[in-house]
């Protein structure tokens, strides 16, 4: 076995800790050392809670020593995207407007991690309020892709995927509103899952777009994602939109990994024009592997997907404009007094704070959403977008009458250079063109590495989609494909990533 705990998967760590080969304290310390060594370059963490993580690890080790029956992931550390409320730990959402805010409560998901005995290493970087596909919109500076530090790690959850890719944490929590778990997974050579909408509680997830947001696992293997999914999933009475049903049997599915006789649909509308050659080539190879493993592959058309991006960029800003109204300097977070106004009114303080506290992308979307909801425009924009949303859901229903899962490339390109698309919002938005339909319809999706693009040697990803509440299908197909690809590569894809050198720590 590898002697460096940071190189082990979460499943392997869980086993090592359970069999007392490693203590949780040793595992946590190894990751804290790794963070100290590489995070100055990667900048995936906004806040590291070394003391808290070690305390939690010690507590787990003591409970284990006393013979307590612990959760399978007890003692395995995790990083959490800075959009989840963590009691006593700063939660900024990558925004200046929440600088210094310490939540007085834990998100349900965070409570479940703690209940499972998982030490929380810290909070990961993200595009401000999860608006972006590169983490460049973080008010605290971008995260760098561990494969190439001059490139973006994807977004909005670039921090969560990067910590996993850089071995700073075996597991991380991401959130996915239009692809913020899957696209970063794709460009960092890692695994990311957006569960069925309602599969994981949103209580404590600082909302970007309530009807689209969903938290999920960021990991290096499909099995690890399944293990984490079963910790965080399940009904929560604090979230009305949470599904009142048991968590799908995802771990069992990841262990089954058998696609024989399954019908796999290749989505005609996702993968042609606008997709990088290397992305397409690796995708086609993966599909061929599935076919060789006994799956029946057919092409499926989802004609309404062509309008998904447009509908998404009306629904998301509309909900966001309302969700972000609460950041007004009255109760928490940043408070800025307007310059040159004596005795400012509450409204003037709100305006000055929001002007200073929100970045350009956030303001852009608030303005878009405010406009789309305005009287006289509502029907033409928000109303029409909701109709498109129904059509997209119908496309999925029709498709899933023919096939068990759908597949597409996750992102149209590999990681681009930092700064490349910063002044071109439209081209940035197109990063999510393949991932957005799943959010609009509420269906689950997974991205896993499909290889490296020939033209730039950077990771590419394949997306698997399943019907709502059938998340286990993702894990079954994903694990089967992962096994075949790893065999072909002779080891995990991440083994091909350049070594990060310890400096600046």
């Amino acid at each position: 076995m590898n002697t460096d705990p940071t190189r082990l998967s979460a499943a392997e760590l869980a086993h090592a800790i359970a069999s007392k080969e490693l203590s949780s304290v040793e595992v946590v310390q190894a990751h804290l050392d790794r963070i100290a060594a590489v995070d100055a370059d990667v900048h995936a963490f906004l806040h590291v809670d070394g003391a808290g993580a070690l305390d939690a690890a010690r507590a787990v080790d003591e409970r284990r020593a006393s013979g307590e029956d612990l959760h399978v992931l007890a003692g395995v550390p995790i990083a959490v995207k800075d959009v989840m409320a963590t009691k006593g730990l700063p939660t900024t959402c990558g925004s200046k407007i929440l600088e210094g805010w310490i939540p007085p409560y834990d998100a349900t998901l965070v409570s479940r991690l703690k209940a499972a005995g998982m030490p929380i290493l810290g909070k990961t970087n993200m595009d401000e309020f999860a608006m972006g596909s590169s983490t460049e919109h973080s008010a605290y500076g971008p995260t760098h892709n561990p494969w190439d530090l001059t490139r973006i790690p994807g977004g909005s959850g670039g921090g969560s995927s990067a910590v996993v890719a850089a071995y700073e944490a075996p597991l991380a929590i991401g959130t996915d509103t239009g692809g913020s778990i899957r696209q970063p997974a794709s460009v960092t050579g890692t695994v990311g899952v957006k569960p069925t909408y309602g599969g994981v509680s949103r209580y404590g997830l600082v909302a970007l777009a309530s009807s689209l947001d969903q938290a999920g696992p960021c990991t290096r293997t499909v099995l690890d994602a399944a293990l984490l999914h079963s910790v965080i999933g399940g009904h929560d009475p604090m979230d009305s939109t949470s599904i009142n049903a048991p968590v799908p049997s995802v771990v069992e599915a990841a262990r089954r990994a058998d696609v024989k006789g399954l019908k796999v649909g290749v989505i005609k509308e996702l993968g042609g024009e606008g997709y990088q050659a290397g992305v397409r080539a690796r995708f086609d190879e993966s599909v061929t592997l599935l076919q060789e493993a006994g799956a029946e592959v057919v092409e499926v058309s989802c004609p309404s997907f062509d309008y998904a991006l447009a509908a998404y960029y009306l629904i998301l800003p509309s909900e966001a404009s309302s969700n972000l109204a609460k950041f007004d300097a009255m109760r928490y977070g940043l408070r800025v007094l307007p310059e040159g106004i004596e005795d400012p009114s509450a409204e003037q303080v709100m305006a000055a704070t929001r002007d200073a506290g929100f970045g350009d992308e956030v303001k852009r979307r608030i303005i878009l959403g405010t406009y789309a909801l305005s009287s006289g425009y509502y029907d033409a924009y928000y109303g029409q977008a909701q109709k498109v949303r129904r059509l997209i859901a119908n496309d999925f229903s029709t498709a899933f009458e023919q096939v068990d899962v759908l597949v597409s490339p996750t992102a149209p390109t590999t990681a681009f250079k930092l700064g490349d698309k910063l002044d071109d919002p439209m081209s940035m938005y197109l990063q999510d063109v393949a991932t957005i339909p799943a959010n609009l319809a509420g269906v689950p999706g997974m991205s896993l590495p499909s290889g490296l693009a020939d033209e730039d040697g950077l990771p590419t990803g394949i997306q698997i989609l399943a019907p709502a509440t059938q998340d286990e299908r993702l894990y079954n197909v994903g694990a089967a494909l992962e096994k075949m690809l790893v065999d072909r590569w002779g080891g995990p894809l991440l083994a091909k990533a350049p070594q990060l050198t310890a400096k600046g720590a």
Partner: protein, 511 residues
């Protein structure tokens, strides 16, 4: 609180206004439900707790917190809808009403917009002249209350001129039902009375449903009165064909009496403006209880855009028809039927019953009778002394702190012969002054009819002796002359005697 800066505007005589204009009203009533917990979280709802002691991440609008609908509040909303003869939606959603205000934690209010839980109903209200007016209900919808801003340092207690403001979020998230009428037309001169009678009937209904404390002075029942005037129809024109005028919305109307006065005032103010040929400004008006006028609040244009959209954090409310029918089974008897039953039980004449209704005292009398009073005694106190005082002081009878149990006790003291009428009035005085329950007040003030017949007999003898002439007239059969003697005896006894007993004694001695 009154505004020192309010300037009385020109008004015209009410009757003159009504000769030229037809008033149209729209009444919006907000009812705070008396559920144990808030609309979307588990916080307590008790009135008067320390500021910001009944709050949590949800009702403070902390980042990440999510609402969950209070099922009890939905039940209350449905029961209110049914009692108002409304249709109950089979499927409806909450909506966000977006606007910025410091006392609104999320800067949107979770409310309902185009899908109210209840719609298309009516409430028949009985007026003083014995006629009935049907108030058409447009909708009743669920929403959450806002926090409460306290403006410190200004002269008016309003935000203008204040040094700073404090916000108490205890009220934020308390379940509210907003009941909106259709435009009320055809009331004519009776418009102010209709408004008062409607709010009174609604209050009675809500109290019978047990869904709210309905205390107007504490804000658990709040009324906004929209008033507009349109010219009287001329020739063969139907009044319904005359377009509606511009309306004003009067807020801060915190008692039944104020509802009537505020509507009446706005009618006379509008008429003066229209008489001058000026236009009514569509705006919010503040009612001032003390001066009896309204003053301009913020201008409210139709262009105000709340950017309503369906609340994505909540799932739709879809009560099954079985649930609705089950809730219908829990409704109290309809107010009209109830009144007829009570009138019959109590043996009141039509006139007496109308007095009781006009005083808004039906439920109070019911509770008082239940507490042991005679129907006649209960009526006498609530619609007599207490209603008179309320009218003089411009308050509502509930504000005196006198409970049905107090009145029942007072009634018993009179019936037991411990107090006479004038002593009972003094005791009531003491109860209002907060001196305690009637027996305590009577004890403390030493009020008790003299039960010692010896003392009364001595006084009677003394008075007969001193008034020989009058006594002779009584002996000669002029029984009514005994009145003068009774008065003298009562004076002699310093009021602490039973006048009936004195009369008996006098007549016995002079027969």
């Amino acid at each position: 609180m009154s505004s020192a800066t309010s300037v009385a505007e020109e008004i015209v005589d009410y009757d003159e206004a009504l000769e030229r204009y037809d008033p149209v009203m729209g009444l919006e009533v907000h009812v705070e439900l008396n559920t144990a917990t808030k609309m979307f979280c588990g916080c307590a709802t008790g009135f008067g707790a320390d500021p910001n002691s009944q709050v949590c991440p949800v009702c403070l609008g902390l980042p990440g917190a999510l609402p969950v609908v209070n099922e009890k509040a939905v039940e209350s909303a449905i029961r209110i809808g049914l009692a108002l003869n409304c249709e109950i939606a089979e499927w409806c959603r909450f909506a966000r009403k977006n606007y910025f205000y410091p006392d609104m934690p999320k800067n949107f209010q979770t409310s309902q917009y185009d899908e109210p839980i209840a719609f298309e109903g009516h409430l028949d209200v009985e007026l003083g002249d014995g006629t009935t007016y049907r108030v058409e209900i447009e909708r009743a919808h669920m929403e959450e209350d806002t926090g409460k801003s306290l403006h410190i340092g200004g002269a008016t207690g309003r935000i203008h001129g204040a040094d700073h403001s404090l916000v108490d979020y205890n009220r934020a998230g308390i379940p509210l039902i907003e009941i909106v009428t259709k435009p009320l037309t055809g009331a004519g001169k009776r418009a102010p009375e209709v408004a008062k009678a409607y709010v009174g009937a609604l209050r009675e209904l809500l109290r019978a449903l047990g869904v709210s404390d309905v205390k107007m002075e504490q804000g658990s029942l709040r009324c906004d009165a929209n008033v507009s005037l349109r010219p009287r129809a001329t020739g063969d024109q139907s009044q319904d064909d005359v377009p509606l005028g511009t309306r004003t919305e009067t807020k801060n109307v915190n008692s039944l009496r104020s509802v009537e006065r505020a509507v009446r005032y706005e009618i006379t103010r509008h008429a003066a403006i229209l008489d001058r040929g000026d236009k009514i400004t569509q705006e919010t008006r503040h009612w001032h209880e003390d001066t009896g006028v309204t003053t301009s609040g913020r201008e409210k244009s139709d262009a105000e855009d709340y950017r309503y959209f369906p609340e994505p954090d909540l799932v739709p409310v879809a009560p099954t028809r079985e649930t609705v029918e089950m809730l219908r089974g829990t409704l109290p008897e309809a107010p009209g039927e109830r009144r007829r039953r009570l009138q019959n039980d109590w043996g009141y004449s039509d006139l007496e019953m109308r007095d009781v209704m006009n005083a808004g005292a039906v439920a109070l009398i019911e509770e008082t009778v239940a507490a042991g009073a005679t129907p006649a005694g209960a009526r006498k106190w609530w619609t007599g002394e207490l209603a008179r005082r309320a009218n003089v002081e411009g308050r509502s009878v509930e504000e005196f702190g006198v409970t049905p149990a107090h009145i029942a006790e007072l009634d018993r003291l009179v019936r037991d012969g411990r107090l006479n009428d004038s002593m009972a009035r003094q005791v009531l005085e003491g109860v209002i002054a907060g001196e305690g329950a009637p027996t305590e007040v009577a004890d403390a003030r030493g009020l008790e009819l003299v039960q010692d017949d010896g003392a009364l007999e001595a006084a009677v003898d003394k008075v007969i002796e001193a008034n020989a002439e009058v006594a002779q007239k009584v002996r000669d059969g002029k029984v009514q002359a005994a009145g003068a003697l009774i008065g003298q005896v009562m004076k002699e006894m310093k009021g602490q005697a039973d006048a009936g007993k004195a009369r008996e004694l006098i007549l016995a001695k002079l027969s």
